[in-house]
């Protein structure tokens, strides 16, 4: 997919004017946070579970090699295959090779952000394999030639009318505005694809080291058909998804559903453990796990390490006022919102992702809802520091901080600057005591007034008061 993160500001400006998008985003703001709060209130130990999950994740990251190798040996024991892929390209090639070995024409796909990350669909198509997205949201987006704007609700930027038109144009059936009818249409279209597919590709929410299992959680059941019906099942996932035991997995499942959709449990929690065994009624003949690194092992050794705790619940973006204003596509790559502002610069390079960690007021809402307590503002600040050190910070901002810093480090001069600015602002404010057009600060005054100072600076008045007090 094309990276438009360097155009974040322009993307955001367009998004703010997009009436349909703004309507759709209104549903995010009121829907997810409310549901999460309700679910949380029903589970008194929620915060305690978050602490446990944070600690467990830290332990896993410290011992990642051990757990991944344990996972691998179990998969092999179960008759499956594991492929270690350092880069996106390695992963794409590995997946294509498996498809080609099976002479695959079509592959069905369950929802997977890692396959977005490695740009799998375009690559498969370019090499004669047709990917079919089976998650309803992903299916709609595939018909429209779009990418997800949200990591758990990929088509959240669309409204019913959009879906209705897209289906009408692609399914050649009478136009309908009834969600049930639209759902039925998608179901009919997808049924045949499920049966015809040569390979099924899913992601994984977690990998379980003790059993060699992968688990997907979905609300549509499409993932089950994707991984059970075709003869070959490929799990494409990233290395930090591994957890030690099934019991550990359930801790994360409890947090994931509540943090993501506000459900107590996701509808389908489907484990797959290797290929079909003798006596199994269903399941693939071949089972592959493609483990993608793509910069993650570098993160272990960096200040971004804590980001590897992320379980992709989307609570951070659901609660982010910036995401809520501009939507996911503005961020210009796969992962939007606060978690994306930390991950994207790591994966596409800070030069291209520079604007993202700056697109936050550091309000801290994301950190406050994160089920694994990732200090997202701190990690965004890490990138800002990195940008400053690499001279990627825009010149004007750098210059501004330089001038301001010069004064801030010299109290007497700073005092004079404050008094001067105070007088200037009061003069500009005049009798109205507010300014509606301020040179050099049009960003502020284009949308709001600037209240003028109500008198001299506090420091001026305080020192006058001290003098008067002393002389009297």
């Amino acid at each position: 997919m094309q990276i438009t993160s360097p155009d974040f500001k322009q993307n955001a400006r367009i998004a703010l004017q997009d009436v349909g998008l703004q309507k759709a985003l209104g549903n995010v703001k009121t829907g997810f946070p409310h549901k999460r709060a309700t679910a949380m209130a029903r589970l008194p130990e929620f915060d305690q579970l978050r602490d446990e999950a944070r600690d467990l994740k830290n332990h896993i990251i410290e011992n990642l090699d051990l757990y991944l190798e344990a996972f691998e040996s179990k998969v092999l024991e179960n008759g499956g295959h594991v492929h270690w892929c350092r880069t996106s390209e390695d992963a794409r090639k590995t997946i294509l090779k498996i498809c080609q070995e099976k002479n695959a024409k079509t592959v069905t796909k369950g929802k997977s952000m890692v396959t977005e990350e490695i740009n799998l669909n375009e690559y498969l198509e370019a090499n004669g394999v047709t990917p079919v997205e089976t998650d309803l949201g992903e299916y709609i987006l595939q018909l429209r030639g779009e990418h997800p704007s949200h990591i758990i609700a990929p088509a959240i930027h669309l409204n019913l009318e959009d879906v209705s038109e897209t289906f009408h144009a692609n399914h050649h059936k009478p136009k309908s505005m009834d969600p049930a009818v639209l759902m039925q249409e998608a179901r009919e279209e997808l049924r045949n694809k499920f049966v015809a597919a040569d390979v099924g590709i899913t992601g994984a929410n977690f990998l379980v080291a003790e059993t060699g299992s992968s688990i997907i959680v979905t609300n549509e059941g499409n993932g089950d058909l994707t991984q059970i019906l075709p003869k070959t099942h490929i799990v494409v996932t990233s290395i930090e998804k591994v957890v030690p035991t099934l019991e550990d997995m359930t801790l994360f499942l409890r947090l994931l559903a509540r943090s993501a959709t506000g459900q107590e449990f996701t509808v389908y929690n489907t484990l797959s453990t290797g290929p079909r065994r003798e006596g199994d009624q269903d399941g693939p003949e071949d089972y592959h796990v493609v483990l993608v690194d793509n910069g993650r092992s570098e993160m272990i050794a960096s200040e971004l390490r804590e980001m590897l705790r992320c379980i992709r619940c989307a609570a951070c973006m659901n609660h982010c006022p910036v995401y809520g204003a501009v939507g996911g596509h503005s961020y210009g790559w796969v992962y939007p919102g606060p978690m994306g502002s930390v991950l994207t610069p790591q994966m596409i390079g800070i030069e291209k992702g520079a604007l993202l960690p700056n697109a936050s007021t550091f309000c801290g809402k994301c950190e406050s809802v994160c089920p694994v307590r990732i200090p997202l503002p701190k990690l965004m600040r890490y990138w800002r520091r990195n940008e400053f050190e690499k001279h990627l910070t825009p010149k004007a901002a750098r210059w501004g901080i330089g001038v301001w810093g010069f004064f801030a480090k010299r109290p007497a001069l700073y005092r004079q600057l404050s008094s001067f600015s105070n007088l200037a602002l009061r003069t500009l404010g005049g009798k109205k005591a507010r300014i509606n057009k301020l040179p050099l600060a049009s960003g502020w005054t284009d949308g709001r007034d600037m209240p003028a100072p109500s008198g001299k600076t506090f420091m001026q008045l305080w020192s006058e008061k001290q003098k008067n007090g002393a002389s009297s």
């Binding site: 007021t361 809402k365 810093g405 284009d446 709001r448 100072p453």
Partner: protein, 266 residues
């Protein structure tokens, strides 16, 4: 009133915005502290907390300013500011220094002594019989309270201002929807991403107006300037004040961005 030698000595950290825009906030804070038995001084070696540099990623400038601030408040039992955001920044100072740097310990020490004003009154001085100065002009009307992000999430300030406001006769608190959602100020964010900031403050003013209160209160001038400016641009009559103005009984002066005459008439 307590005037003995044991009275706590407080250094007022005035903050750039209160210094520049609203000296009354500084005087109200001093009044509240003195009324509660503290001796207040204002060290002249203070400037800004350094947050603009910190959030721009300029750690070297931030550390310089941090050392200056730490030194300026040496010897004060407490450091109090009318801002959760600036005190929150003081609490970040230890992150700026390596473990073996002597400034690290001094930063940790400052952190322990630094409080936002409403939190200081409630959590440190534990004032449970708070009273507004009886000679002050009475404030009558409804207020709504914006929970500024840094104070709320970095310092846990939520109940403290409300607890104090509940002791003020004539004040009726009408909570707004989403009082904990960011107003879009965000320091340099509001000039770096003005379109997004403007949308966020627009969402905020909608909630403020819907609350139907006469006055918007908060604990951070950055947010208050942002919201006051938007309310005024949109033509709403809601007046905006820092919470200390009400608590100190200093509401005879014009609200933020209000002309002198309009208040005299009112």
């Amino acid at each position: 009133m307590n005037t003995n030698k044991n009275q706590p000595v407080v250094g007022l950290f005035i903050t750039c915005l209160a210094d520049l825009y609203r000296p009354e906030v500084g005087f109200a804070t001093v009044k509240l502290l003195e009324q509660s038995g503290c001796r207040v001084d204002v060290p002249t070696q203070q400037t800004c907390c350094g947050q603009p540099a910190f959030n721009t990623g300029d750690y070297s400038t931030t550390a310089d300013i941090a050392r200056q601030t730490i030194a300026a408040f040496d010897g004060f039992e407490y450091v109090v500011a009318p801002s959760g955001s600036c005190i929150g920044m003081l609490h970040h100072y230890p992150e700026l220094f390596e473990d073996n740097d002597p400034w690290k310990a001094r930063a940790e020490d400052l952190k322990k002594r630094a409080f936002e004003i409403t939190s200081f009154l409630v959590d440190v001085l534990k004032i449970d019989d708070f009273k507004v100065d009886s000679n002050a002009p009475a404030f009558n009307g409804s207020v709504t309270y914006h929970d500024s992000c840094s104070g709320l999430r970095e310092l846990g300030i939520k109940a403290q201002p409300r607890q104090l406001l509940a002791k003020v006769d004539g004040v009726e608190l009408k909570e707004m929807e989403e009082s904990e959602t960011c107003c879009g100020f965000g320091g340099t964010f509001c000039v770096k991403y003005p379109d997004i900031s403007n949308r966020m403050v627009g969402n905020k003013t909608q909630n403020i107006v819907d609350a139907g209160a006469k006055t918007l209160l908060g604990g951070d001038l950055g947010c208050l300037l942002n919201m006051a400016g938007k309310l005024q641009r949109e033509g709403h009559a809601v007046e905006v004040r820092h919470v200390v103005e009400i608590l100190a009984g200093m509401t005879d002066q014009p609200a933020l961005g209000e002309a002198q005459s309009s208040v005299k008439a009112g």
